[in-house]
């Protein structure tokens, strides 16, 4: 009995000890951020795949240039103080500033050449940005050269507007510059340091990776050798908090300073919470309804056009997409060069019915509509099912995981899909064009799964060459005109991908943070953040 009572007392004591009120405010020289780390498989800039990794690595690696957080079409100097393009537009010369890596090694032109060569040789996820413009592992020695310690020359392998290449080099991943000495020291059997870089960093930006624990945390510490202004934060702690509601609670309590991945319901609630601010910025890609032109019915442009009038653009954006997207009907991202005004399509079932009747489908048709089983796709699919029905399109909704839904699209084995995508990580319309429309080879064997044009079976040689021509043109006004032509032609042909919303990113943070500018390209610079508490 005594034993029992003692034990009881002990456990009561433990409860009391544990329930002393928690001090819930983060220290002012540490930044605590909540996000989902599920997509972080490696921290090697050449191999990363998702925006979450970009958010972290933007603070660890510098590029030659960086993407402007406010004006999406601009690039700013980073490791390169200045650059010039040759008269004929075939070479770009970058002039490096005096800078050092976190290890203390100086940043040399040689490091830049090595980093770009490594990217092309490993040929992992991030290589595709440059491969699209003709860069290859074999051509790397010719394409990237270092005439002296402070100069890097990039020679374009094919005719393309150099501005596009400069912007590409501003993307975290393909453009990240590594400390080649440090990486070589840690390389194992010809892996170009891949295994080591998955966990460690060799950059020159304001922070260093101290620790990464998969699905738990990434810990960054201040880089004392940083060439720029020293950040106010000593440490940045990125925490894996997959549950949006948990993120919201911790932000409200002051245990988190920034919450990067909140669900719209929670963002809506936080909008009216004292002490919390929300920034919403345009982001890469669109929400769209797409059809497969491998399906005979959708080869008829009238049928594709009819679908355009069976989408309730205003309704979807107002009811389902707050904090997810804003209305947008063109295949070029907001703020990019050459974007035309929205054509102003609206739900019009009568017009759709007439078009369908003309095409020989007076009784409508049965289709399958694929959607991810997550928010907002399932809601979008249900809403679209309703409006499609008004035009006689009886859609059966098929839901599933990314592999099941986009997998079917990559196999070109689907009828309709409500999806998200369309380029825009590179702040140039060419990125949208290639992701959404371009399709150089429409055969099944080509398996150009990275082109959504190929996935939907849209093939127009004329539009391909227009896209190539627009990318190769250096004159700004000429480019604008060319992109207008492409948008009009795509509209006339009723392309199988119909964007109805542009993706936005909403970030919630404590209002005592200053200097936070969320970058549309996810590469938010945290070195400028301070706390005023």
């Amino acid at each position: 009995m005594m034993n029992h009572r003692t034990r009881l007392r002990l456990s009561v004591a433990a409860v009391i000890l544990a329930s002393t009120p928690v001090f819930a405010e983060t220290p002012d020289d540490q930044l605590v951020i909540g996000f989902s780390m599920t997509n972080i498989l490696t921290l090697d800039p050449a191999a990363i795949t998702g925006k979450e990794t970009v958010q972290v690595l933007a603070n660890v690696y510098d590029g030659l240039v960086q993407l402007d957080p406010v004006d999406r079409a601009e690039v700013q100097p980073d490791l390169a103080e200045s650059w010039d393009v040759s008269e004929d537009g075939t070479t770009i010369t970058f002039h490096l500033r005096e800078a050092a890596f976190a290890s203390g090694n100086p940043v040399r032109a040689e490091d830049v050449v090595w980093s770009l060569t490594r990217l092309m040789t490993l040929n992992l996820a991030q290589a595709s940005f440059l491969k699209t413009y003709g860069f290859t592992a074999e051509g790397a020695a010719e394409a990237f050269t270092a005439p002296d310690d402070r100069t890097v020359v990039v020679t374009l392998p094919q005719k393309v507007n150099p501005e596009i290449i400069i912007a590409t080099l501003g993307i975290v991943g393909p453009g990240s510059i590594l400390d080649s000495e440090l990486v070589k020291e840690n390389a194992r059997n010809d892996d170009w340091g891949g295994a080591w870089l998955a966990q460690n960093s060799a950059g020159s930006a304001a922070f260093n990776i101290q620790q990464w624990q998969s699905n738990n945390l990434v810990l960054l510490t201040r880089n004392d050798n940083f060439w720029g202004e020293a950040p106010a934060m000593r440490r940045i702690i990125w925490r894996h908090i997959p549950e949006s509601q948990s993120q919201r609670l911790q932000l409200e309590r002051g245990d988190l300073d920034i919450a990067f991945q909140l669900a719209p319901a929670d963002l809506g609630a936080l909008e009216n919470t004292d002490g919390i601010e929300i920034q919403t910025v345009p982001s890469a890609g669109f929400y769209y309804l797409a059809m497969s032109m491998k399906d005979e019915r959708f080869q008829d442009p009238k049928v594709r056009e009819a679908m355009r009038y069976l989408i309730d653009y205003d309704g979807l954006n107002e009811a389902i997409l707050p904090f997810y997207g804003t209305e947008h009907q063109r295949p070029i991202s907001g703020g990019f060069l050459g974007l035309l005004d929205d054509p102003g399509h609206a739900l019009d079932p009568e017009k759709a019915k007439a078009l369908l009747a003309e095409a020989g489908y007076a009784d409508g048709m049965n289709v399958t509509l694929r959607a991810l089983s997550d928010d907002p796709f399932l809601n979008l699919a249900t809403a679209l099912q309703g409006t499609l029905a008004q035009g006689g399109i009886r859609a059966e909704v098929i839901t599933g995981s990314g592999d099941q839904i986009y997998g079917a699209m990559r196999e070109r084995n689907f009828e309709m899909i409500v999806g998200r995508g369309g380029g825009g990580q590179l702040p140039d319309p060419d990125s949208n064009m290639r992701a959404l429309i371009y399709n150089p080879d429409n055969s099944d064997e080509a398996r150009l799964t990275n082109f959504q044009g190929w996935r939907t079976g849209f093939f127009d040689e004329e539009i391909n060459s227009m896209i190539d021509a627009a990318a190769a043109t250096t004159d700004r006004d000429e480019r604008i005109a060319l992109y207008a032509d492409i948008q009009n032609r795509y509209e006339e042909e009723a392309g199988p991908i119909i964007p109805f919303s542009e993706v936005v990113t909403s970030t919630a943070y404590r209002d005592d943070l200053a200097g936070l500018t969320v970058n549309p390209s996810w590469s938010t610079d945290l070195s400028t953040v301070t706390k005023t508490r």
């Binding site: 456990s11 544990a18 329930s19 001090f23 309590r253 592999d403």
Partner: protein, 339 residues
């Protein structure tokens, strides 16, 4: 003679274990290969070109026949190589060693709470059978058993963390303490104590108490129910009546006699409940952002990280076999009749 029988029985047991493990291996391998998740896509990303995809496909050995893949896997496992995780790029075994302490910490406190709550309640329920105490206890344990733990987790966080501020929120400690204590055992309470960082220790305890209580409460339901039925078996037996007739109080009869007789059975069910906690902490680990085994298993399942998933499933199997074996041994030790 006796030793030979013992040897034979041990050999049979080892044989059974080996066959069970092999079956488990085959099953997880087959399920793993049939999973719709595409590990290659997880590595190369949505926008990757065809040749990048094929390059990684071959690196992972997925182009070889399934049977060959299985035997290669079997060979590796037998030599103690469980492969590398796609997600972390580390040997799976190292990953598990890192995440396991977080789960062990949670499950151990939970089982202490669960048994501490469940056993006395079960005894009381048996003694007060069909009286109001029994009914109240049944309601308490039914609630613990039937409420989904991710829901109670959210509610508890809302009340005790967000409103009252009595306990810490998600994670094993306040985030700004992360990385301040050198990981020695990866049990944060122990590491913090070793380093003499009492702030961290208190923060860790603050974060541990809520998820552990919820888990403990939910596992106490099972323990209460089993304890009650074991106890009822004893109460109905003659020796209890005899003891009562001899003039022993109810309390003495129950705790000195009946309880001693059911302790072996109790050890068994507590051990099994502990095993279930180790793998069953999945939901609570998600709600509380607890970086343990459950979260490791589910997130790897999502991306189709086969080496990690297969090793985790195998480990859960081994844990259950080990716990069963342990309770067998305990029976032998405590109960002479089974010797």
């Amino acid at each position: 003679m006796l030793t030979r029988t013992r040897t034979r029985s041990i050999a049979r047991q080892v044989g059974t274990i080996a066959v069970t493990l092999l079956g488990l291996l085959v099953l997880t391998f087959v399920i793993g290969r049939m999973m719709p998740a595409d590990p290659v896509r997880a590595i190369v990303g949505e926008e990757a070109t065809r040749d990048t995809y094929m390059q990684v496909y071959q690196q992972l050995g997925l182009d070889r026949p399934l049977v060959v893949q299985f035997f290669l896997y079997l060979r590796d496992v037998l030599t103690g190589d469980f492969g590398t995780s796609i997600r972390t790029g580390q040997p799976v075994i190292d990953d598990i060693i890192t995440v396991m302490p977080a789960t062990l910490e949670l499950a151990t406190l939970a089982i202490i709470i669960g048994a501490g709550l469940g056993i006395p309640l079960g005894v009381i329920a048996a003694v007060k059978k069909d009286r109001w105490q029994d009914h109240v206890i049944r309601v308490i344990s039914l609630a613990g058993h039937s409420m989904p733990i991710f829901w109670t987790g959210m509610i508890a966080l809302l009340i005790f963390y967000a409103w009252l501020g009595w306990v810490g929120g998600g994670g094993r400690m306040s985030d700004y303490f992360i990385g301040l204590v050198p990981p020695v055992t990866n049990f944060i309470l122990i590491d913090a104590a070793l380093a003499g960082e009492w702030d961290v220790f208190q923060s860790a305890l603050n974060h541990l108490i809520l998820p552990a209580s919820l888990l403990g409460y939910s596992s106490s339901a099972y323990i209460t129910r089993m304890t009650r039925s074991f106890m009822l078996d004893q109460i109905n037996q003659e020796y209890i009546t005899t003891a009562r007739v001899k003039g022993l109080s109810v309390r003495q009869t129950i705790w000195r006699h009946a309880f001693l007789n059911i302790r072996v059975q109790l050890v068994t069910i507590v051990a099994l409940a502990y095993g279930a906690l180790l793998e069953g902490a999945v939901l609570i680990e998600t709600v509380f952002s607890w970086p343990g085994f459950g979260q490791y298993l589910t997130s790897n399942l999502m991306i189709g990280d086969m080496n990690a998933v297969m090793t985790c499933v195998l480990l859960v199997g081994v844990i259950f076999i080990a716990l069963n074996l342990l309770s067998d041994v305990l029976y032998r030790v405590f109960d002479p009749r089974t010797r």
